[in-house]
Symmetry: C2
Subunit: 207 residues, 2 copies
Amino acid sequence: MAAALELFGKRDAEGVSIDDVASAAGASRALVYHYFGGKQELYVAALKSAAAQLEARLRPESPEVLEGPRGFHEGGRPIEELADGLKCYFDFVEGHAAGFAALLKGGPDNRDGEIGEIVDAVRQHLLRLIMKQMRLEKPGPALRVTLRSWTASVETAGLDWLEHGDMGRPALERMLVDQMLALLEVAARHDPQAGELLEKLICGQAS
Amino acid sequence: MAAALELFGKRDAEGVSIDDVASAAGASRALVYHYFGGKQELYVAALKSAAAQLEARLRPESPEVLEGPRGFHEGGRPIEELADGLKCYFDFVEGHAAGFAALLKGGPDNRDGEIGEIVDAVRQHLLRLIMKQMRLEKPGPALRVTLRSWTASVETAGLDWLEHGDMGRPALERMLVDQMLALLEVAARHDPQAGELLEKLICGQAS
């Protein structure tokens, strides 16, 4: 699986053959077929594994993450936690470039919507994580739309960064954090909850 | 095709059969198969048609749009043009609810990435339209990321609105326009071009 993930991370799925995966994993072609059934299954399994890695990296309670130098840190000021989470996300984007693009673009041969489900699950997870980070249980409509929109913005920015790479990661990450603050300011005109959240984020008084 | 689009617009693709389409169109099942080859092909064709309708509605030069009461108006203040474009987008979302969701979520049986391509084409088109509206030829990185991110936000807000519907359309549209202004303000810290654009949008001096 690790070998497949690395190959899919470096090349488009069309350019990876079962033979490539087998030889990278030091296994026989037959064994790969035995475990995964075919390239489509292998591809979906690789994407699921990539999604799980992203989720694990963003999960604060995960010990492997807390120990790691690049892990997500809990307990800082909320705005710093947000910036840390974003850094983890872009570490993942950078480390799994083709896989990330495939995850978001849907892949070449998505027979039964499995990839759409993986992407949806990652999005839901990110949203829950942000809400947890912000100590937010039930966002009202304006705040919910804003948080979902921002998540979509981050995804889009990740894809754009992979495509163009003409903006440095630190500047891009800073811009995205600033965008979150600006979006919350707009949302606060429709929902006082967003204003309270903005206050907490800036002042660092997580309740 | 209109009959298929209407059916796919009302129900999930799984719930629409070739027979349904044939009887809605007053045609025989054999004729539908003759023209489209199968349900997957019919579904892709229906989505393509939905995407084309959306693009036509947003295209300022299209006569059918200029004549229509809900068309996109060119020549107003740039910020009003943006708000008009957004209104057209949401008219489409409202009128083709299931089709819009299917377009963005990928559909049930996407064999060769065709649906991904349709979605990408709509996104590219929206981006070009916004750039044209804003009289913008070559955006720098920060501005490009911001415009793409905003387009993703609008899509996400459209899906959220269909799912929850707990925020009125006028309020949601206003919030999205305000978000664009707020995002440009943030982008202006990285790219003076974004600041100029913001100025133009607010003051209505399109150059």
